[in-house]
Amino acid sequence: MEEQFPIIKVMDDEGKLVDPDVQIDSELVKKLYYHMTRIRLFDRKAISLQRQGRIGTYPPYEGQEAAQVGSVMALNGGDWVFPTYRDHGATLTFGADMVRTFLYWNGRAEGCVPPEGKNIFPAAVPIATQIPHAVGTAWAEKRKGTDHVALVYFGDGATSEGDFHEGLNFASVFQTPTVFFNQNNRYAISVPVEKQMHSKTIAQKGLAYDIPSVRVDGNDVLAVYEETQKAVKRARQGEGPTLIEAVTWRTGAHTTADDPTKYRPEAQGESVVHPLDRLERLMKNENLWDEAWINQVQLELENEVEVAVEAMENYPKANPEDLFDHVFETLPEQLDEQKQSYLDLIGRG
C-alpha cells in the first residue's frame, strides 16, 4: 500500500525543489512564511502563558505549521473549517480572532465565536465527532448550489473512531464537497500510529469508500498547499470528497499536561526538519529571503501576539449569566428559576 500512496513532496528537507523546473509563486511563499511564523509565535506564547498559569492546559501544534497553514490557505472566504483542539494554527490563518483564540484556552466560550462571515466551527474535543459535521455542512452547500467546500481536520488517532468511518461513507454516498485533512503526526497522545492501526498508511482508508486519497509530506508547505488545492477544486466542481494524509510530526508534548519522554524514543523525530526551517531553506535557495522583511514580519507579529495577550487578560470576566442564557434560544421557566436563585445567592440577582 505504501507504494500505492507515495508521499508527495514539492521540496526536500534541504529546501530544494524536487522538480527543479517547477515555477514557484514568490508571493504565495511569503504569505505561507508569514502565517507559519505568526502561528508559531502564538503557539510558543501560549505554552509560556500556560507555564505561568495564565491560561489552562494547552495543546501545542509546533511541527505541524506547514500542514495547517498550507491546507487552510487553499480555501476561500465562504468555505468552512472544522478544527480539532490542535488546529487553531489553521483557524488563526483562516481568520479566527487571536484574542478569542487565547480566550478559548482560558476556558471561555467567547473563544468559540467566529468573526462574522467566517465559517469556523468550535474546536472538536471528542475525537472524530466533527467529521460528520463537515460532511453535513458541505452537503448543505451542495444543496444550496454554491461552490463552497468544508475542510475538516483530524488526527491519526481519529481514524479509529466510528465517526470517521460513518462520516467518510456519507461523504462518499452523497458526494459532498468535503476535504478530509488528516494530520498524521505519528502519535495519539502516547499511542504511536503503529498501534493505532495495522495499515501503513491512512490514505489507503479512502479505498473503502472509493474516495480519492493522497499522501503528502505534511512538513512541506508547498506540497500541502498544492494537494489541498486540488482536492478543493475537485470538491468545488462537484467531484466529491478527497482524503489527504499529511505526514507530519508533533515536535512537543500532546498538551502542556503531557510528558512525551515517557513514551517517545529519544531519537525519534530528531531527523525531522522543522517545516519553517525547510521553508527558510527554500526561500534562501530561491532568493526569496529578504532579511529586512523577515525582521519586520517578526516584530510585527510579536507585537500582534503581545497585544492579543494583553487584550485576553483584560477581557471582562466571564458572566455566570452565560451559564444559562445560551442553552436554548428561550430560557425555559424552570431553568430561569435556577438562574435567578443562583444569581440571588451570589448577590447578582
Partner: protein
C-alpha cells in the same frame, strides 16, 4: 382519510380529516415539507419504503429523493451530518427507526447537538428534530421496545416531546420542527394506529412545554404521557367506579415539564400516581416527584406512587406484558394512595 368540514368555535370553517397518529405524523411532515423548503427528512428506509411504520409514506414520491433521504445504516452519521445541515440552513428531521437504535447517536446528540448553541454563545444553533418510535407492547424483537426518555431529559439543551393522540402528534411535531433548538420527538408506536381523531388539515402548532388535563377528579392525580395514557385512563375509569375521582394529566412534553399543571392538580388532590413505561430508577417519575416535592409538599396526603417499567431490561416479547404497567397495577397504586 376522510375529509370533513367542521364548524369551530370561532365560526370559522376549518377542514379536518380523520387520522391515526402515524397518519397525523405523516401529515405534519408533509405540511412542513410543503411550507418550508429547508425542511428535509433523513433516515433509514424512509424513502421508497415510506418508513417501517409508514410514517413517511408517499413523501419521497411527492418531494423527491433530495428532500426525503434514505441514508446509510448509520445513526451517528445521520445525526452528525444533520448537525452540519442544521447549522448551515436546513431543518433536518431525522428518523431513528426505533428508539433502541438511537444509542449509537447518543454521543453526537450529547456532545454537539445539545451544546453547540451554548458553546458558541448563540452563534450556531441546531434546529433539528429526532423522531423515535418508542415503547413495548407490539411484540417487536429485542431492543425495539425501549423507552429511554430519561437519557435525554437529563441532557441540557434538548427538549423532549411525546404526544399521545393524533392531533397532538401533528401540532407538536410541527412545533418541534419550527423550534430553534434540538427536539427529541418520541412516538408511542403502540398508539400509532390505536385511535383515529379529527385532525386539522391546516398547519398548526401546539406549545412545547404544556400538558393537559384529560379527565377531572378530586381524589388523586394520575400523571402520564404517550402510550401509557390509555392505561392510565382505563385505571381511572375503574377507580371512579369505586368512587375515587381522578385527575388524569397528559404531560406531552417531558422536558421542560409543565410544572404548574402538576402542582395545581396535586395541590387539589393531595395524592399522585405517576405512570410510565421506562425503568423506575432514573425514570421521569423521579423528576415529577421532585416537582411535587418542590411545589406541593404541604398538600401531600400520601406518599407519591409510581407505576413504571421495572428495573430490568425490556424483555423479549413473551414477557413484555409483565414488564409494562397495566391498569391493574395503576389501580392498585391509586388505592394505596387513597387508603394510605
Amino acid at each position: 382519510m376522510m375529509d370533513i368540514k367542521m364548524e369551530d368555535q370561532k365560526t370559522q370553517t376549518k377542514t379536518t380529516q380523520s387520522l391515526t397518529m402515524v397518519q397525523a405524523i405523516n401529515d405534519a411532515l408533509k405540511t412542513m415539507l410543503e411550507q418550508d423548503e429547508t425542511t428535509i427528512l433523513l433516515g433509514e428506509d424512509i424513502g421508497k419504503n415510506g418508513g417501517v411504520f409508514r410514517a413517511t409514506e408517499g413523501l419521497q414520491e411527492q418531494f423527491g429523493e433530495d428532500r426525503v433521504i434514505d441514508t446509510p445504516l448509520s445513526e451517528s452519521g445521520i445525526v452528525g451530518t444533520s448537525i452540519g445541515l442544521a447549522v448551515n440552513g436546513f431543518k433536518p428531521v431525522c428518523e431513528m427507526q426505533f428508539m433502541g437504535f438511537i444509542y449509537p447517536a447518543y454521543d453526537q446528540i450529547m456532545t454537539h447537538a445539545s451544546r453547540l448553541r451554548m458553546k458558541t454563545m448563540g452563534h450556531y444553533s441546531v434546529p433539528m428534530v429526532i423522531r423515535a418510535p418508542y415503547g413495548a407492547g407490539i411484540r417487536a424483537p429485542e431492543i425495539h421496545s425501549d423507552s429511554m426518555e430519561s437519557i435525554f431529559t437529563h441532557m441540557p439543551g434538548v427538549k423532549v416531546v411525546c404526544p399521545a393522540t393524533p392531533k397532538d402528534a401533528k401540532g407538536l411535531l410541527i412545533a418541534a420542527i419550527e423550534d430553534p433548538d434540538p427536539v427529541i420527538f418520541m412516538e408511542p408506536m403502540r398508539s400509532y394506529r390505536a385511535q383515529r381523531e379529527e385532525v386539522p388539515t391546516e398547519k398548526y402548532q401546539l406549545p412545547i412545554g404544556k400538558g393537559e388535563k384529560i379527565k377531572e377528579g378530586d381524589d388523586v392525580t394520575i400523571i402520564t404521557w404517550g402510550a401509557m395514557l390509555s392505561v392510565a385512563k382505563q385505571a381511572a375509569e375503574q377507580a371512579e367506579s369505586q368512587g375515587i375521582g381522578c385527575d388524569v394529566l397528559d404531560l406531552k412534553t417531558l422536558y421542560p415539564l409543565d410544572r404548574n399543571l402538576i402542582a395545581e392538580s396535586v395541590q387539589k388532590t393531595g395524592r399522585a400516581v405517576i405512570v410510565h413505561e421506562a425503568h423506575q430508577t432514573g425514570g421521569l417519575s423521579q423528576d415529577i416527584l421532585s416537582v411535587i416535592n418542590d411545589t406541593s409538599f404541604l398538600y401531600l396526603r400520601a406518599p407519591i406512587e409510581r407505576v413504571t417499567g421495572f428495573d430490568v431490561p425490556v424483555p423479549f416479547f413473551a414477557l413484555e406484558d409483565h414488564y409494562l404497567p397495566t391498569a391493574k397495577r395503576v389501580l392498585s397504586s391509586i388505592e394505596k394512595a387513597v387508603h394510605f
